[in-house]
Every structure is written in C-alpha cells, then in structure tokens.
Amino acid sequence: MLRFASTYALQTMRRNALMTSVAIGTTAVLLLVLSTIAVIVVSIDAGVQALQSRVNVIAYLKDGTSPAALSALESEMRSRPDVAVVTYISKDEALKRLQKQFASHPGLLGAIKDNPLPASLDVRLVHPSAATDVGKALQAQPSISDVIINEDVVNRLVTAGRFVRLVGAVMVIGLSVAVIFIMTNVSRLAIFTRRAEIEVMRLVGASEWFVRWPFVLEGALCGAAASLSSFLIVAAGYHSLIPVLRGSFAFLSLPVDPLLLPKLLLLGLLIGVGVGVLGSLIAVRRFWEPATS
C-alpha cells in the first residue's frame, strides 16, 4: 500500500505542479522567515550575554592584608560557580589607572602623595544577577574594607537581558504559531481543492488510510522540500553575512553557537514535515465521510 501511496503522491505532485509549488514555496518562505528571525534573536541574545559577562564587583582590600590571606580569598572566590574571573589590582596599579583616567588634567592628581588608593579584587561574574550575592560574600571577609557594585549598570544589563529574552521569545514563539497556522491553512486549502478526489476514492471503497497515505506523504515531501530549501538559504546567508557583520560591528562581538545551524535544520524539518503530515491528516479526516459525520 505504501508503494502505491508514494507513486500516487509523486504523480499527483507532478501533475498538479501549481499546487505543489505553492505549498512548497509558501512553507519555505515561512520557515525562512522563522529561521532568520530565530538566528537574529539568538545572536542578539548572545551579544547581550557577552556584555553581561563583563559585569564586575570591585572589593577594596584593607591595607596590610597578607599575601596568604589574599590568595586564600582569591581562590575562594574563583571556586564560586557564579564567578568567572578574579583579578588582583595592587595599590600601584590602581594609581596608574587613575592617572591614566585623568591624563588630561595633570594638575588634578599632581597634588596626590603617598598613594591613598587601596588595592582591590576585580571579580567578573557569570551573570549580573549574581552581583548582590557575590558582593555580600566579599563584604563578609575580614580583609575587605569596601565593596562596590555598579548597581546601575548591573540593573540595566539584567533588565536589558530580560527584555531581549522576552521580546525574542515572544517573536520566535508567536512567529512559530503564525507559521503553523498559515501552513495548516494552506494545506487545508490544498486538500479542499481535492475533496472531490477524496470523495471518489471513498465511494470506490478505499479505506480511510488508503486515502490518507498519499496525502500524508505529499505533506511530508512538501514539508521536507520546503525546510531543506529554506535551510540552504539560511545557511548560505549565515555563512556569507556573519563574517561581514562581525567585521562591521566588531564590538558587538557576536558569538557563534556551532550547533545553531543543525538546530535550525532540525526545527525546520520538525515544523515543515510535522505540519505537512498533521495538516494532511486533519484535512483528509475533515472531508472523510462528509455525508455521515
């Protein structure tokens, strides 16, 4: 039965080129839009995450902290899962940095003698939301005099991250729903144009699955063709555009998920073939035995 179904499906696809091309074209374009937007959202999200990983907590050390206590503290911090990098900044280093910052007003710091600046630990975080925790832990250390958290930056980054995530998720999910809705509609329409055909088959004594198989196969084939072609376009665009973008917008430091493209392919196939098959199943069911149900 499957052999016949596939023959029949391929034949009708060929003999009804308009409908086949409309179905594949529509699906491919929808998946193309979906994956492009997914790529954009994922890239922006990755960019924001990269920015977030630059958030740091500064802990000023009391003058006279012993090197042993310091290294104990450093390694304790490093072992925390929410800490990415810990850097020690000595008193000299701190002064140099300040002088550099005020290089344009040499008069301002000329008056300073005896280097009043404390040494400090610069603690980079994995995610900005850990700032308060890490800050508290540092504050509790006896050798720490003061902890500085750039609340403003932290908050902004956390909010911006949440915003990007939210908008991105809304866009991708909303778009997926829209894509599935439209694909289902197109397949309903395509099968609607063939309800007479289905009616004839059932009157000749074809069982429900005998009628369904060709439609399901057609749906699967169209879906696969569409998702493959849209994937090829996205992959080509990705490979040719990303280096250009990374060149022009270097600071955004767009990172790459090496699995992004395979994931996209999988998603496309899942939606394309899934909706193709399910849409056909539902649409055929709808026209099955219209006189009785």
């Binding site: 034949q11 009804n16 074809a206 006189a291």
Partner: protein
C-alpha cells in the same frame, strides 16, 4: 449472508435530503442475488437517490435497508469501505479521478481491492478497457476524453474488480445506440456470471430489448415492479402512461418570454 437471502432489501424506506426534498417515499423492495433490474422513472424521480442509499453514500431517513448482508443503518463506519468494495458503481457523473489517466483510474479500483502485482493489474485493466473499446485511450486524462469515453471508463472501473453487485446510474446517457447496446450487453454478460445488476436508465430501447425486471419510480414512490417489463407499462404503450409529464410544454403553450429591459 447466505446466497438465498435477498442481496438488497428495502423496508418502507424514505429519504429526505437536508434541504427538505423528499426524494424517496416508503419504498419497499427486494432484489435477489443474480437478478438484473432496470430502474426507470422521469428525471428527479429518485433513481440516483436509491442507488446512493444502496452504496451507503447517503443514509435513509426512515425505514430499513439491507444490502449484501449488512444493515446499512447499523453498519460501522470502519466496515463501509470493505462493504463498498463488493459493489461496482457507474456514477451518473462518472466520478473519475482527474489526475489519473483512464488506465490508472481503472487500475485504482484494483489497488483499492488490495491487488499488488503490477503485471496482473496491467493485464486485467487493459482487458477491461478493451471490452469497453478504450484500449487506445488508456493513457489519456479524463479531461481529454469525450463524454461517452469518460462514461465508458467509469463502466470499466466498475467492472474490473468483478464485484458481487453492480450499480449503474444512467451508464449509456452519453453513448450512441451501438455503444449503448454494447455496454448493456456487457452488463448482461456480467450478470450471467452471477453479478447482481441494477441499472438506472432512461434508455427506452434497452429496457424494451432486454425485457428484464423493471422497477419504476415516480416522484419518489415505487409505482411499478414488473418482471420482464418494458420501459413503459405494457397496458398503455404510449408516453402518457408515465403519469403527467413534468413539463408544462405538453400543452403546447406558445413560447413567449417576457421582454427584459436592458
């Protein structure tokens, strides 16, 4: 089903379509296996409706209907395809699959019946197409066939599976007298091999020539059931025995159309 029971039995069957048209009214009849029945009656008298009920394409509104051992009021939806495969049908509007060639349309019925062997399917299909005179048109699509050719494809599809029962709705309506006679002889021949045949027809010549059992419908009622009958009742051979014509023209009203203003 035992072979001695009637293959078709209608008890007081009425059919009222959704739009309120009462197409059949209290029709009771039995047809035994192996019978050859002509179904006659004026246009709109319910012939096609009766055939649709027999195929369980439509359901009866009241009354009971048994076909090939099935109570069609109780038959499970899942059992319907199996049931239909025992019946060959020639539809009044042919109902060919537009994207399949004549050959493929006929072969389709064999596929539905579970035939797999491509060579056997091919031989059998070609043989039946040859029987209806369409061997040369085998690879053409329905849209490129003449009306009569399409009708014969429909006949071929109904025959090819060797059904227990054959329902033919006006199978010669678009055929010239010679072809019509040939098709009728084909049905007759199939009947002699044991298939029950029910033919709805307007073809007076055929009915009169074959002299088989005649069921006559008029406005949804069974008005005649005659063994070896003619198209019209034997007593009154002229046209008006069929009841008043449905057309008002019989009174020879002059054709005066109201003039529409452009």
């Amino acid at each position: 089903m035992t072979t001695f029971d009637p293959i078709i039995r209608l008890d007081n069957v009425s059919k009222c379509y959704l739009n309120g048209v009462l197409a059949l009214q209290s029709v009771s009849l039995t047809i035994n296996p192996g019978e050859f029945v002509f179904l006659v009656g004026p246009s709109g008298s319910g012939k096609s409706t009766l055939l649709r009920l027999l195929l369980r394409d439509e359901r009866v509104t009241t009354g009971r209907i048994f076909v090939a051992g099935h109570n069609l009021l109780r038959i499970q939806p899942g059992a319907i395809p199996q049931f239909r495969r025992r019946i060959g049908v020639v539809f009044q509007d042919y109902k060919l699959l537009p994207r399949l060639t004549a050959f493929e349309n006929v072969a389709f019925a064999l596929r539905v019946h579970g035939f797999h062997d491509a060579r056997a399917i091919r031989e059998r299909t070609i043989a039946v197409l040859e029987l209806v005179g369409l061997r040369a048109q085998a690879d053409r699509y329905p849209a490129t066939l003449s009306g009569g050719e399409q009708q014969r494809v429909s006949v071929a599809r109904a025959l090819v599976t060797g059904p227990d029962m054959l329902l033919a709705d006006e199978p010669t309506g678009n055929l010239d007298p010679d072809n019509a006679l040939a098709i009728a002889e084909l049905l007759d021949q199939i009947n002699t091999f044991g298939t029950t045949v029910v033919v709805a027809t307007h073809n007076r010549d055929l009915v009169d020539k074959f002299r088989r059992r005649v069921l006559q419908l008029d406005q949804g009622k069974l008005v005649r059931d005659e063994e070896s009958g003619g198209y019209t009742l034997a007593l009154a051979a002229t046209g008006d025995s069929l009841g008043e014509s449905t057309l008002p023209l019989d009174g020879r009203r002059p054709l005066t159309l109201p003039e529409g203003s452009r």
